[in-house]
Symmetry: C2
Subunit: 412 residues, 2 copies
């Protein structure tokens, strides 16, 4: 018999509770034992329903209950989630979490504490909601190493960019519409500024390299500067724009970045639209694996948590997926990328001449999108520092204004 407690009875916590109830017989058969929720921690009070009799406001009722052997942490945030998680692990309880803030900051300590206490700290639901990512990745890492990880890791921004493209609309109006429809938070910064995707990328990279990847050191750009005109030019080239979290890993040095990037609309990530998420791993021998699906939602996230619970109850010992030693990120300015550059001009031929002079080539690929006095082109792959110098030079050319630029996800 396994007894669980749920800390935090919001969308995710209540989803876990109801899915565990509805699937109790089936889960019991698969686990070989019944799994029953004994306690629910929440600051709020509520009455009625099956959950109310289990409610407590005091975490001690869970941490000190020796019958409870597994805890679902669905509170979010660093505090008090960190303290409660650490104390539950030290009491030998498994903890399963959807809390990407906590995992991205304290994952190494918590997994080490789990291992020292013959318990598991698991968090499949922290990246990609119901998409199975961490468990397959971990299994593949038994025999492979990852050379690139890349993905669309935030559903809100992918929804906004997909709608901008589909309706030929601007960022502000599309964000407002997404907020009305419940696809964006009232304070959308964590999503639209790329921080959510950045934390998820850091978690995946920590697993890939076995060391702590500090998310605050990953260069991160959001999507608020993406315009209607950028999509018009990207579309004219057969491309689209997505917020991509990408990292190349060479000799254990990570070149990571979160930014809106241009990619083919017929590519595996280019067709991932709406609130869908996707992540692709390039391995030494398997080439490439893509995992995609809806990246959030009450029941998918609950499903991921219950999968972790089932594993924790059967595999009670596991080495930490990463240590606290910080992984090396490559020096800023060293990344090599091709880019799409959009500019306005007063004289078309003069603008082309200036760009070709600055980029020292007659082979720039130009995009004609039918917008008066605007053009766009693809640069060759260049180091960030070199590109920055060239784009400054181009901006100084008379009659030219550089409007925006995007890295290409892959070289054309």
């Amino acid at each position: 018999m396994a007894y669980a407690a749920i800390m935090g009875y919001g969308v995710v916590g209540s989803g876990v509770f109801s899915v565990l109830r509805e699937n109790a017989a089936f889960i019991e058969k698969q686990l070989g034992m019944p799994l029953s929720v004994k306690r629910i921690l929440d600051l709020r009070s509520f009455s009625g329903g099956d959950a109310a009799p289990l409610l407590t406001h005091d975490a001690e009722d869970i941490i000190n209950d020796t019958e409870i052997n597994i805890v679902v942490e669905a509170m979010g945030g660093l505090n008090p989630a960190f303290e409660y998680t650490m104390r539950a692990l030290r009491a030998g309880k498994h903890v399963v979490s959807s809390n990407k803030e906590l995992v991205s900051v304290h994952g190494a300590e918590l997994m080490a504490a789990a291992a020292a206490n013959h318990a598991r700290y698991m968090f499949e639901a922290s990246v990609g909601g119901g998409i199975p990512i961490i468990r397959p990745l971990k299994h593949m890492l038994l025999t492979e190493s990852v050379s690139q990880a890349a993905g669309i890791l935030n559903g809100t921004t992918n929804y906004i960019l997909s709608m901008m493209r589909e309706h030929n609309a601007g960022f502000d109006e599309t964000l407002k519409d997404a907020q009305r429809r419940g696809f964006a938070e009232r304070d959308p910064s964590a999503d639209v500024d790329g921080f959510d995707a950045c934390r998820k990328l850091a978690i995946l990279l920590s697993i890939c390299v076995g060391r702590y990847v500090n998310f605050s050191k990953i260069p991160t750009e959001g999507i608020s500067a993406v315009t209607k005109d950028d999509f018009t030019f990207a579309s004219a080239a057969g491309d689209t724009i997505k917020l991509i979290a990408r990292a190349d890993i060479r000799d254990n040095v990570i070149d990571a970045r979160v930014a809106p990037m241009v990619l083919s609309k017929e590519s595996p990530l280019g067709v991932v639209n709406g609130v869908y998420n996707a992540v692709s791993f390039t391995f030494s021998a398997i080439d490439n694996i893509l995992l995609s699906g809806r990246g959030a939602g009450k029941y998918p996230t609950a499903g991921a948590i219950i999968s972790d619970m089932a594993e924790a109850l059967r595999i009670t010992e596991a080495a930490p997926m990463w240590s606290g030693a910080e992984a090396a990120l490559s020096a800023p300015g060293e990344a090599i990328d091709a880019r799409m550059v959009r500019m306005s001009y007063t004289d078309a031929q003069a603008a082309r001449d200036a760009a070709e002079r600055v980029f020292q080539t007659n082979d720039l690929i130009w995009i004609d999108a039918g917008i008066p006095n605007q053009t766009a082109f693809f640069t060759p792959p260049l180091k960030e520092s070199e590109y920055d110098a060239k784009i400054r030079a181009l901006s100084r050319a008379p009659g030219i204004s550089v409007k925006n630029s995007f890295r290409l996800y892959a070289v054309r």
Copy 2:
């Protein structure tokens, strides 16, 4: 300490041996114990190398060795793989397999024998090579049920169709080229006639419904009738043609099929090209998960096998994923699909009139691909039996010859 034996030292078996050697230290750390290969069964003799001293021609040397606790079956075929697997399981050994023939026929019996002997029978590598499919599916089925499974499950046919599209080439010449390049067998029937994809679909469906799905009852069409002209019309409509294995599951009745189908070239399966495989599951709550990657190959397949070995050594008890009770397949002729129909004509207007008369609508969607005296159109969704009657009627119209037709993967 875990001792393994490998039965069958071909591409897969030798891949497992070398990957286990190369990653020995890391695998030991993850498993918490060393995993060492003690015996290799093969009919051939070979000398030199690390494997030779372990070679035996007698399966008894493995089955009767009480120190060996896990067996990799990479022989393929039904016999003697079935007998050896059954005896190993009855001796309490785990068996991990890449043998889709055996799993699709005797999976239920073998899993039952495993469960009765506190051992595991596992076969992640039998579907999709190195793509993690069975393990994630099984985890998701803890809390979800599948309403549709669909995929590109055969790399050879996907390579051939991708090349036909890319090079505007016919089937026969592309097959020959694929054989020359090693992407197709000398006897290509199992692949090009759809049987390989059909067995893999049957395995996935058996997992989804928990009962034996008889692959020989799944309507299966291969790709040898797909022509250059079919691709020309599909492309003109923004579509492509893929060999799709698809099943809808309603009230535990399965409507399954393997056939070349028309789908958007900007859809998640439409962008899966070359030897890549992909499978998509539609769940009750998660909507849709897509898993894709290279579906075969020595090292990816070895990786999947070693993942299974790692799980079997840590989770030694598991309920069989399906029983021997046969699942119900829907009656033939009941499936409802829209189709792309290609025909030649002597009079363009008369051909259109005839098609609209037969399909009783003025809303057929016509495709103009610039091929003289040919056209194609999309039908509305129709029961197979109704469609067959209409297409017979259309074929009788004067000056018309129906050349080919394809189900659409999704309604347009």
